[in-house]
Amino acid sequence: MTRLRLELLQWFGLFGGGLAWATQHVVGFGISDSGCRAAGRQWDLPVSTLQVLLGVVAGAIAIAAWTAAFVAFRETHAVDNDAPGPAGRIHFFAQAALLGNVLFLVIIVLDAVSTVVELPCRQS
């Protein structure tokens, strides 16, 4: 495993899940908001199918990020936590990404699942 691939795996692992959730958060908000607004309603987007699709894509990216972090973690397993330079840092961020991506995956799943329940547009 060349050092460049390890670096790529580690940085994708660290940032992949977060960006996937952030995108799903903003785009999902836009979709469901347009479903409830006059200006948006004339596009009549199939809100729930789009949300679930968005959730699946974002979830896939988060799982890919988790796997990348796991591979980087395995590759640097022999390295001690306080090891110097790239190896120690990659091992460190890989462990961190394992936790982060789990969290992002759960939020992504909850966002996608929430469209299953038919919630009203207007608070009452």
Partner: protein, 192 residues
């Protein structure tokens, strides 16, 4: 082992990183302004209001194209100061500076005209439009002042400190050009 003989690995100077973080704040500020434009767009049926003339297309596009083109001489200047070639850097900066001043003067003239054509006191669209353009021009003005400063400084002597300054200014200009492009798209969005 004195400072001169330390094992040195090439990396970005702290001045460049300072500019990078500053650019992040300004980009977030423009993200907020553009977000406000889009947010209010979905809160109004007529955006911009029907009675207002549509924003101009040709002049802003050409001017923005000219400004974005200045990224090339700025890149050349940044590369030249890195390699210690002072004259090349100075000439590249002068070219960029000229185009930028030309852009700024023309845009400020159009801006004063825009404030009369789209009075912000009468509609939210005009308020956001005028504020967004004003912020963009302000950042171009800051870039012009930075360029002027380094034109004067590297005319006499090129030190590492000033080289980092020119590289940071070049990075600032790349960012401002991207922001100006985004502002242009938002400005022309009523035509889309």
């Amino acid at each position: 082992m004195t400072a001169a003989t330390l094992p040195v690995r090439h990396a970005r100077a702290k001045g460049w990183w300072g500019m990078a973080v500053f650019v992040a704040t300004e980009a977030t500020l423009f993200g907020t302004l553009v977000g406000t434009y889009i947010y209010l767009r979905f809160h109004n049926t007529h955006w911009p209001p029907a009675r207002l003339p549509k924003p101009p297309v040709l002049t802003p596009s050409l001017l923005t194209a000219a400004l974005v083109a200045t990224s090339i001489p700025m890149f050349v200047a940044s590369r030249a100061v890195g390699a210690g070639r002072r004259e090349v850097a100075w000439r590249a900066l002068t070219v960029a500076f000229a185009v930028q001043v030309f852009y700024l003067v023309w845009q400020l003239h159009d801006y004063v005209d825009a404030i009369h054509r789209y009075p912000p006191q009468e509609s939210a669209w005009a308020s956001v439009y005028v504020t967004l353009l004003g912020a963009a021009h302000a950042h171009v003005l800051v870039g012009v002042l930075l360029n002027a400063w380094f034109l004067v400084r590297i005319w006499s002597r090129l030190t590492r400190y000033r080289a980092v300054g020119v590289q940071a200014t070049a990075f600032y200009w790349h960012a401002v050009n991207v922001i100006t492009l985004v502002v242009l798209v938002v400005q022309l969005s009523p035509h889309l």
